[in-house]
Amino acid sequence: MSYRQARYDEPLIFELIGENDFCLMSEDEVNVPESMRRETLCLPDLSEREVVRHYVNLSQMNFGVDNGIYPLGSCTMKYNPKYADLLSSLPTVRSVHPCQDEDSLQGALQLMFELEKCLCAISGMDAVTLQPAAGAHGEFTGMLLTKAYHSANNQQRDEVIVPDSAHGTNPASAAMAGYTVVEVPSGPDGCVDLEALKASLSERTAAVMVTNPNTLGLFEKDIGTLAEMVHEAGALLYYDGANLNAIMGMTTPGMMDFDIVHFNLHKTFATPHGGGGPGAGPVGVRKFLEPFLPVPRIVSEEGKYALEFDRIDSIGKVRSLYGNFAVLVRAYAYILAKGGDGLKEVSQKAVLNSNYLKSRVAGTYEMPFAELRKHEFVISARRLAKEKGIHATDIAKALLDRGFMAPTIYFPSLVEEALMIEPTETESKETLDKYAQALLDIANGDPEDIKSAPHNTAVGRVDEVYAAKELILSWRIYQRKNGKGSL
């Protein structure tokens, strides 16, 4: 155990006392109508130095991929190349208004046009929209496209089928689009139970959402049969691209007969996740769905790029403007750097790392389902929980103590005491060995020490129940409640 995170009693920014040194003062009279006038504003008034120190201190109480391995399952937390940071913050990105005349946006339009082509090649789809802002937003877009398609064919279909191992965003996105969600169980092999799927498919089924490889890290080997069944029922097959990092250059959603695909550019194509975002969630479709894609479409004529708004079958817009452009720049740069062979190597390395790490911990942790995994794998702490009272959450906290980010825990829910581990391709054997050793040490460690972890982080185990009970969600609420507690 050699990790120590910074531990400051850093006050809230509202509690800091300082002096505003922002040199832009104006006492100009402006006439806001009296009924609309604001008299006071209570933001902190601090110097830049004080603000920078505050956030630098806070940052030291945070952990990112640049600090160490971050194998959060299904989140693909790879180390990201820094050239992408540089390119996405150029003035030709930052200082460009999206509604400028097309003539003054040619660089941006070209980049988006080229990126769409790259994503088509990677996914085996015919057309891509870059508009959705995140993976879940891509799913929602996919569901809107599904609705538009069926409605254009005068079909009343109101159900979307998702496997029980699907990411929570799948059922949530389908429900947001107004669909009734039908969950199908996984079979004993961890893959979609085809019999159960068959029983659920009907003329009411609008789409089936599949993640392949699935959240257990298993490749849905019967994908061919599955796709046939779905299409025979008249439904569309949706590909959740969260796990695309596992298959690039080996297969494509297109080859697997998917109709709609979303990409998580921030996962597969190297964008730092920013503590929760921004990401980008482009959507690719087959030719027959292209007319429904959001507007505008980027078109190219004689080397000039233009935005096309006039498309009668389009679903319209899913967010304003064209997408998270600065993220698109990063993804494009990364794809350029890697090229086709490089991306294939990314997937191979990611799968090798995952299988290697799995093999290192397999004896000590239970490993439900088949041996061979793709980019991630799920282990179970069920035995440890029964024998020593060490639960998945305890293991997670004990990993933090050792300077490692924890895996995703308690997901997928079909595995008891699940730990979902995705090492990604950017970690070395040495790092994986250390992570494996930490997992083994924890399993064999003093249960009391593990259950009281973490000890080496900025704070000890936090009281989530207190947070949900008190609901102190802002400084306003805090001030109202102050006096009741000393926090």
Binding site: M25, V52, N62, M176, V459, L473
Partner: protein, 464 residues
């Protein structure tokens, strides 16, 4: 470098293969330990039938080549530093103190993800709590989520949240609204099948037409939406009357948060939900993304709210700590019954906004808002003196943008201004079809007196 003066010849000595490749090559020790010869064997579970040989993508490039290629491509964009920008309409060219990116470039923030493990993520969690708190102060609302994608998606989520609060089927919106928001809204309400009904505006003041709202306020209304400032840049003085008149109907107010430095916050006049675009608070324009959807509500409705929330709590030693809370609303717990599907959000931009507000402070923000407003006032008067323009077209009180009626078609006007090296305003007919000879002009603190003189001179010339 070669010892020749001919630059074309010099380049042949450059090594274009420089730079870093973050994916290391396959480690054969791992293959050996797994008892396999190649990584291909790890893909034996992928049926032959769906296999591919490779992808139709170009060969990879070095870091150096990538930087050059992308830089060159993007150099075909015109920036607001190269040409004075009078374009706004929701996205604005503002000054951003350099230290904002110093803070958001901190690797510990930049390369982390959603703080599922609170103990090792206190920095992010406290920063997000501070963001929530600052937007809460600005809007005078108790609860703020830790971000939506942008204003338009926040509006979509606000409408469905109204429907959860009051399960009726009609959502009232202004006719004077950006068409993109209207389109996004329609998609977001297609799930619960809400009707979007528009109310008109007063043709003289540009403010909401209260009489029309009264007429459209049927028993079926689940929510009422108004923007302050509105599409025309007008600080709509009707907004505070709405809750008084329709106390039972959830009120959603859309804001440009910068204006709240001077304008009465919606929390003071009964808003149930406040949304807006956070971009005007220290975020770059980014060709339109990423942006930052603001989303605030009253404590009463917090359980019906979309998005992530950070709460203040304590650790096992009783020390102050922060964690995500009310996660049972969210998709990873509640799945199809979640209040929203949002997962990845715009967290880093929320930190940027907090850092910006921290540096600018109350005094700075009020000063900035004054300068924005004053610039617009002076520009609208000067344009009005020109032949061929009526400015402002509406006579309500404007914040930092205003509608001008022109005798030159707006698109043509913009092309002509571009020839003068000026980025013109936003044509209005896309948003409100009957305003087909109208353009929305915007000023910020970035428009110097010289910029404004240049615009006036160009407009004079264009009309002649």
């Amino acid at each position: 470098m070669a010892d020749t003066d001919d630059p074309a010849k010099q380049t042949i000595y450059w090594d274009t293969g420089l730079g870093v490749d973050v994916t290391m090559s396959l480690d054969h020790r791992m293959l050996e330990e797994l008892g396999i010869k190649s990584a291909e064997e790890l893909f034996s579970d992928i049926p032959e039938k769906v296999r591919i040989e490779g992808m139709l993508l170009p060969q990879g490039k070095s870091e150096m080549e990538v930087i050059r290629t992308v830089q060159d491509m993007l150099s075909k964009n015109l920036t607001a530093e190269q040409a004075p920008c009078f374009l706004g309409g929701g996205i604005y060219h503002h000054f951003i103190p350099s230290a904002v990116s110093t803070i958001t470039s901190r690797s510990e923030f930049l390369t982390s993800y959603t703080p599922y493990q609170a103990e090792i993520s206190q920095g992010m969690l406290q920063s997000m709590f501070e963001y929530q708190s600052m937007i809460s102060e600005l809007t005078a609302m108790d609860v703020v989520n830790s971000s939506n994608y942008d204003w338009s998606t926040a509006l979509g989520e606000a409408a469905t949240m109204c429907h959860r609060i009051l399960p009726k089927k009609t959502f009232l919106v202004p006719e004077a609204m950006n068409w993109e928001k209207r389109s996004v809204l329609r998609n977001y309400v297609s799930g619960p099948e809400l009707n979007i009904v528009e109310y008109s505006y007063d043709p003289y003041t540009g403010e909401a037409d209260l009489e029309d709202i009264r007429q459209k306020m049927t028993q079926d209304v689940c929510g009422l939406y108004i923007e302050v400032p509105n599409l025309f840049g007008i600080i709509d003085s009707r907004a505070p009357l709405l809750k008084k008149e329709f106390p039972e109907v959830p009120l959603v107010v859309g804001v440009n948060p910068l204006s709240l430095a001077l304008v009465r916050p919606p929390g003071e006049y009964g808003a149930d939900i406040v949304i807006g675009e956070g971009q005007s608070l220290g975020l770059p324009m980014n060709v339109g993304g990423p942006l930052l959807g603001l989303f605030a509500c009253t404590l009463e409705h917090v359980r019906k709210m979309p998005g992530r929330l950070i709460g203040l709590t304590k650790d096992n030693a009783g020390r102050r700590a922060f964690c995500m809370t009310l996660q049972t609303r969210e998709q990873h717990i509640r799945r199809s019954k979640a209040t929203s599907n949002i997962c990845t959000n715009e967290a880093l931009l929320a930190i940027a906004v907090s850092a910006y507000l921290g540096m600018v402070g109350s005094k700075g923000l009020r000063a900035l808002a004054r300068i924005n407003m004053r610039n617009a006032q002076s520009l609208m008067q000067r344009i009005d003196e020109l032949d061929g323009f009526a400015s402002p077209f509406f006579n309500g009180a404007h914040f930092n943008e205003f509608v001008v009626k022109t005798t030159v078609r707006p698109e043509k006007l913009n092309k002509l201004l571009l020839r003068h090296g000026i980025i013109g305003g936003m044509p209005m007919h896309k948003h409100v079809p009957r305003l087909n000879d109208h353009v929305l002009l915007t000023t910020t603190e970035m428009n110097s007196a010289e910029d404004i003189d240049r615009l006036i001179a160009a407009l004079k010339e264009v009309v002649q």
